[in-house]
Symmetry: C2
Subunit: 322 residues, 2 copies
């Protein structure tokens, strides 16, 4: 009975097949409802060799410390390993001139990459669910992110952070928030009210609390499901595009102008994106990528600015970051 | 001065390059503001060898007849050829159990294909603009159409209708409705109030008059521009996918199950879509395509229903329409 529910929660059989229970995995656990449900399901499904990863964002003082203690107890309860760290996200956001939400996410991924390296365990499970997928799709659409952004949240994706390649697995992308609610109630799971909900960037906040409810009211309740489908397809096609990328991309220090020019625009954009990402350039929005792509035109400027005082430059038929 | 404005209206230089002024083209002209502006710009830019195509939808009795007369006079004014036909769209919609909007569109494309064949002129200019692109993108998103649908409206696309291959060119996709308004005012162009605005399908109506204004109010005025960018990229990527399709697709009567299975899902979907379209199957939504794609699984049913009492069937390793 219990296993059946967990199985439904982690719907994708493919995920269970590609990530066998016998191996070791990281799990991101904030202590909020979604990640508590994920951890419970994974343990329930027979994943024993887990390392619970929790970053204390220090955003709510004693409440944040209590979140960390809660996750500590959770790991003890399930008898799995634990990695906890602490980071002053507010200070980080101020220093890097980022929103709290973005700084928190960056700090989390940095932390995950650290643990992945230290523990020699490169795969992490995260608790993003169907509502997150819809929300992220819409936010990227409203930002004009283009297809690369539209297909940003995937069941399985690879990412290079601080020189560490990690695989991010999101087994709950097909599960709705209200299904998780129900699961948590059925199993009487305790969880902490998610602090991060109070630090949403304005666009996410308005999308979640105003735009999506408005769309449901105006266009009917299945609108969420329909957007989910479009988002899921966009993600799938994104994987397809990734397969077309030159495999050595992340390792090369320079991009050949001639080679890049020979690719279709859709692949050029993704090649530039993947390459910049491997060089740990942040905030890879559409305009930034288009600015770098403009370097392919030998009649245009040979240099463009990147975030954090870095630059992309074209010289002698090559593009490089400095 | 005049030419400068027209040039701005038909922004894409690529379009002007790929469709030289010396050749002959069809232009869809309803008599509404957008198509009047398009025709005026084309003539202004030196396109002289045009055939104005107008379908009388018979939806508003004498007003529809007056639209047709207006377009007749317009063609005479610009000294270009004219093709006018008349179709009882309301009866067609009732007979085919379609919305008026869908029946009107189908009837128009049938008409365009007829004229294309009769006049041996396979390229048609249509007046869809940036607001249409945004609106169509959102409607397809709200329908859950997936990427194939998201990138549906393109600068240049090919389509097979009633056995006739036509090329559809939309030079105004980068121009906003209010820019067209301004253009029409500046040149004091007369036009007919667009009858089709009164026959919008409910989803388009709500998207145009409620959802988009709501998004602008909630998320700021540049939201339209941002969605436009995502839509334009989706369209561009759609062209890329089309290049990956087996070129003989439209001509084969049967699809090889084995060959189709060897393609990535993203390409399978588009191959099926293109093939069904060449067989003149209508209403190619996501579910319909997925149902046909399910025929690839030899464990599943060997037959699926298509609109208008047609069927797709798998037999001896082939899929065909009957």
């Amino acid at each position: 009975m219990r296993s059946q529910l967990s199985q439904r929660l982690i719907q994708s059989k493919q995920i269970l097949r590609d990530f066998p229970r016998s191996r070791r995995y990281l799990v991101g656990v904030s202590g909020g409802r979604d990640s508590v449900a994920l951890l419970h399901s994974l343990v329930d499904l027979g994943y024993k060799n887990l390392i619970v990863c929790h970053l204390n964002h220090q955003l709510r003082g004693r409440s944040s410390a209590a979140d960390a203690r809660f996750v500590e107890n959770l790991a003890a309860k399930y008898d799995v390993d634990l990695a906890i760290e602490s980071k002053n996200v507010r200070a980080l956001a101020a220093k890097k001139k980022m929103s709290i939400e973005t700084a928190a996410r960056d700090a989390r991924y940095d932390f995950f990459a650290n643990i992945a390296k230290r523990k020699r365990c490169r795969t992490i499970f995260l608790a993003h669910h169907a509502d997150d997928l819809v929300e992220t799709f819409l936010i990227n659409l409203f930002r004009g992110a283009g297809t690369t952004g539209l297909g940003a949240m995937r069941n399985v994706s690879k990412r290079r952070i601080n020189g560490v390649d990690i695989t991010i697995v999101r087994p709950l992308l097909g599960v709705w928030r209200n299904e998780i609610d129900k699961f948590v109630r059925t199993h009487r799971l305790k969880f902490r009210e998610d602090a991060s909900n109070k630090n949403l960037a304005p666009l996410r906040n308005r999308s979640r609390h105003r735009v999506i409810p408005y769309l449901e009211k105006t266009l009917g309740r299945n609108i969420r499901q329909n957007i989910w489908r479009a988002a899921a397809i966009a993600s799938e096609e994104e994987s397809f595009f990734e397969q077309l990328l030159p495999p050595e991309l992340a390792k090369v220090t320079e991009l050949g102008v001639k080679q890049l020019r020979s690719l279709p625009v859709a692949v050029q954009r993704r090649a530039i994106r993947a390459w910049l990402r491997s060089k740990e350039i942040v905030d890879l929005g559409f305009d930034l990528i288009e600015n770098v792509r403009a370097l392919l035109d030998s009649a245009s400027a040979a240099k463009t600015n990147l975030p954090r005082d870095r630059h992309a430059r074209r010289r002698a038929g090559k593009i490089f970051v400095e």
